[in-house]
């Protein structure tokens, strides 16, 4: 039942659409199908006992959604939250099959690009480095390298570790 979607410009969409955003010097990407919403930064409500990358929670259309600071997650130096600071709200599939929503704080959103297979490069296996299972692959775009993130791997652990520890303590 795989259908080939024909784009407005007539090209056939075997490519995936990727939302790209900047974090420090790097450009990252997320599959656009995972992105629910992009919104400007607004102050969050801090949550007790949360790991440092979980800034707190926000009200998104009536749901309480955790907000994760990707700078902290990627161990980048923290930056001021400015008017261009953006929260990308994504949906994440949890291991138990449920879906959770989560907001990612990034420096700025850049673009939406069509990513074809030819542009993709496998992520190098870096031995000894901290877990990079959240990097799905790398890709070359116009002006450099794009790090394509695996939304599930990126966030699942955060939420499960954050709450799993508490469950163990309870």
């Amino acid at each position: 039942m795989n259908s080939v979607v024909t784009q407005a410009d007539g090209t056939s969409a075997t490519a995936r659409q990727i939302l790209t955003f900047r974090l420090g010097e790097e450009t990252f990407g997320l599959d656009i199908l995972r992105v629910k919403e992009i919104r400007g930064w607004s102050p969050v409500t801090r949550v007790p006992q949360a790991p440092p990358q979980v800034l707190g929670v926000l009200n998104l259309r009536g749901a309480i959604v955790p907000i994760i600071d990707l700078r902290v997650r990627f161990a980048l130096p923290s930056a001021e939250f400015t008017p261009v600071t953006v929260i990308i709200v994504i949906s994440v599939k949890m291991l138990d099959g449920s879906t959770k929503e989560c907001g990612l704080v990034v420096d700025s959103v850049s673009d939406v690009v069509d990513l074809t297979e030819e542009m993709r490069r496998e992520a190098p296996q870096i031995t000894g480095s901290a877990s990079i299972d959240y990097i799905e692959s790398l890709a070359t775009i116009d002006d450099g390298m794009l790090i394509l993130l695996d939304a599930d791997a990126l966030v699942r652990g955060e939420i499960e570790i954050a709450t799993g520890e508490q469950n163990a303590a309870a």
């Binding site: 102050p43 969050v44 409500t45 801090r46 949550v47 007790p48 006992q49 949360a50 707190g56 929670v57 926000l58 009200n59 259309r61 009536g62 749901a63 309480i64 959604v65 955790p66 959770k100 929503e101 989560c102 939420i159 499960e160 954050a162 709450t163 799993g164 508490q166 469950n167 303590a169 309870a170």
Partner: protein
């Protein structure tokens, strides 16, 4: 195709479960009424519809089992077999076995095949005992062929028994379009679904059938005129064709029911007279009178006119069903099935409106003059409308307690039989309404309490007589509203708690010290401690390792409380208080540093400002203060949650005396902001559990505030101050 089949499966499972509940309740009623024909009819109909559904989906084990069950019920209905205890036990067990079988096909859980086989054999033996062999399943359809084509439709033979209570008819013209079959919409299945609603007569229109040679095997060339005799709403029919929408032409009309009745009744009467003329009389006598009343309605009259007549004719039947507390059986025409998600979505939207509303209120304070006044009065109106809307939506989630109570007659019957006790179950306030989520979660704790009463509370008949009490004990389930909460009571007139034994046991388990002087209430409290059980030998009833501590914890999780009153020789009473809904809580908003938290009002005993020097820092005991003669630990919220507070000295802020899990503590906060009702949002749906936090809510300006879980917070504080004595 796999998708919609699964959808139908789910419906079948759900409906079968409901049907089994109805059947169980009717069976229990049957026990008391000694075989009321209408009750047997109800049971028969339920078994029949399960059989139909099971057959349709190819669950042949279930179909075959229900077929035998149905045969036995038919024998009972026709008075060829007299109801006795062996039969009623077998019938009740059939309900269990069917539940298990449905569980098997649904979840792949293993039903005990031996039990199924044994019971199946028992049912067959009971039927045989009546001198009748189980007829093969096909005959039910055969009647179809003899349906007079021109006359007003007689119901299909399979459903004939149902015709005595049928009131409305639906004429459905069904014509397939090109894609119907290839999209997985098989008329056989669609019509089976329809037949599940009531007797269905299908008359094919073969006028457009091509020859075999010219026939495209993937296109349905037959059209149908269907007549469904059922009281269901139009929506229910539309729902069945939902998946075929766009793939067929459908014309649904309501028609007069009258002409169908005489034929159906004649048929039923014939069968019954052939079998046992005298015993069949009650059923037969009632049926023609219903039909006669309906026949009086002018045949050609518009449906609107005929409907009330038909409805009134059938009224006794409806009443009989309602009287026995089975809402599902007769409510088809006035209710629709809505998923709980849809209601929650609605509730979510309403909460959003509440937030927007309070935001507007804040803005309005900045508008002056005439326009401002008009705006404010408009907003006041809006506020009261929104509140009403919110309450209405909340009420949609409410169900009567009978939903949970209905399982107890069976439980009490079975347990008392097994234990050789005589027990009467009294239930009052079944119509008291409660949030569905609360209702679902309170079932197990209630079962535990009732089991406990039967197992440990009520004495054996001779012991009761010896004690000067009637041989028959009473277990009473009661429900009533009290303010904004609901109270459920489980009481018995049994032997009461043996306080000396509880005390001894608690000492032997090291739960209390032999020197501790405890009041009666404090002794009663002991049974809620983990690992405490008064049963000397664990029976398979109450002693499954689940103790009263689990009951209490479950109730606490619902934001409720449980108390116990007991008098030796007179009985025991458990009183459960529950919030009406889990969706809203009354709370006090408090400030700590820059943050706002909500403290549920029910947990607050008192708020006070300590004078300098009123607190002590006991060695190994942490910070405590004196409150009504007790020393309570102080929980500094800013420390527990890691906030930079405005007040560090106890006398600069506020201490709230809070209570949770029977323990008290002083909660130290900066200041009190105000009281408000807040809508509880789950932290777990997108994040997870946080110790000390029960949920979150959205404040007027759209910001999130966390709601405290006071018992959790007290536990948390106790763990970080292990030596602190927290029992007040």
């Amino acid at each position: 195709m796999s998708i919609d089949l699964a959808q139908f499966h789910a419906t079948f499972f759900e409906e079968s479960r409901e049907a089994l509940d109805t059947m169980e309740a009717a069976l229990l009623e049957l026990d008391e009424s000694g075989g009321d024909p209408e009750t047997i009819n109800t049971i028969f109909r339920v078994a029949h519809s399960i059989k139909g559904g099971a057959g349709m989906f190819g669950f042949s084990d279930i179909a075959s089992f229900t077929h035998t069950l149905e045969t036995l019920l038919d024998e009972l209905r026709n008075s060829r077999v007299a109801l006795n205890e062996r039969i009623s036990n077998a019938l009740l067990q059939s309900v269990d076995v069917l539940r298990a079988m449905i569980g098997t096909v649904q979840h792949g859980h293993e039903a005990d095949p031996e039990r199924v086989a044994t019971l199946h054999a028992e049912l067959t033996a009971l039927v045989k005992g009546a001198g009748v062999d189980t007829p093969p399943p096909p005959p039910v359809i055969a009647v179809e062929a003899s349906t007079p084509p021109a006359a007003a439709p007689a119901p299909a033979g399979a459903a004939a028994p149902e015709s005595t209570s049928a009131r409305n008819q639906w004429a459905i013209r069904f014509r397939a379009r090109q894609e119907l079959l290839t999209r997985g919409n098989d008329p056989v299945r669609l019509f089976s679904e329809l037949a599940g609603l009531g007797p269905l007569d299908a008359r094919p229109d073969l006028s457009t059938m091509p020859t075999l040679e010219a026939l495209d095997p993937e296109v349905c060339h037959i059209a149908w005129d269907l007549v469904l005799t059922s009281d269901v709403a139009r929506e229910t029919i539309d729902l069945i064709f939902e998946w075929a929408e766009g793939d067929c032409d459908l014309d649904v009309k309501r028609v007069v029911a009258a002409p169908a009745e005489p034929a159906a009744v004649t048929e039923a009467t014939e069968t019954e007279q052939a079998a046992a003329p005298e015993a069949a009389a009650p059923v037969a006598a009632e049926a023609p009178s219903a039909a006669a009343a309906k026949a009086e309605a002018p045949i050609a009259a518009p449906a609107v006119v005929a409907a009330p007549a038909a409805a009134s004719a059938a009224a006794p039947v409806v009443k009989a069903v309602e009287g026995s507390g089975k809402p599902a059986a007769s409510a088809d025409s006035t209710s629709i099935r809505v998923s709980i998600e849809k209601i929650d979505e609605l509730l979510n939207m309403v909460s959003e409106i509440v937030i927007t509303q309070s935001m507007l209120n804040q803005l309005a304070t900045r508008v002056d003059g005439v326009a401002g006044d008009a705006l404010k009065s408009g907003l006041a109106q809006l506020e009261s409308n929104v509140r009403e809307l919110q309450e209405s939506v909340m009420r949609v989630r409410m169900l009567p307690v009978s939903f949970v109570f209905s399982r107890f007659p069976r439980l009490v019957r079975d347990l008392s039989h097994r234990l050789g006790k005589q027990i009467r179950l009294k239930m009052t306030g079944e119509q008291t309404e409660l949030d569905k989520t609360v209702l679902e979660k309170i079932g197990d704790p209630l079962v535990h309490l009732v089991r406990n009463s039967i197992d440990h509370g009520i004495e054996m008949p001779d012991a009761r007589v010896e004690a000067g009490k009637p041989a028959e004990g009473t277990v009473h389930l009661n429900a009533f509203h009290k303010g904004g909460s609901i109270t459920l009571e489980v009481s018995d007139d049994g032997k009461g708690l043996d306080k000396d034994r509880i005390r001894e046991k608690a000492i032997s388990r090291g739960l209390i010290d032999a020197r501790d002087a405890l009041t009666d209430d404090q002794i009663n409290e002991l049974i809620f401690l983990p690992g405490f059980s008064t049963a000397e030998a664990t029976t398979d009833l109450s002693g499954r390792g689940v103790g009263m501590d689990v009951v209490r914890r479950n109730i606490k999780e619902l934001g409720g409380s449980i108390e116990l009153k007991s008098e030796k020789g007179k009985g025991t009473r458990f009183v459960i208080n529950l919030p009406l809904t889990l969706a809203i809580v009354d709370g006090l908003s408090v400030q700590v540093g820059e943050e706002t938290y909500i403290v549920p009002l029910v947990t607050i005993v008192e708020s006070l400002q300590l004078k300098p020097g009123h607190s002590n820092n006991l060695v190994d005991h942490g910070e405590v203060f004196s409150f009504r003669g007790d020393y309570l630990p102080i929980i500094r919220l800013h420390e527990a949650f890691g906030v930079e507070p405005k007040a560090r000295n106890l006398h600069e802020g506020l201490v709230m005396v809070v209570e949770g899990d029977g323990r008290r503590a002083g909660l130290f906060v900066d200041s009190l902001l105000g009281q408000q009702q807040v809508v509880i949002k789950s932290m777990e749906s997108n994040y997870g559990r946080i110790e000390g936090i029960g949920g979150a809510t959205i404040l007027g300006e759209g910001a999130v505030a966390l709601i405290l879980d006071v018992p959790g917070l007290i536990r948390l504080a106790a763990n970080s101050q292990p030596a602190a004595r927290l029992i007040a």
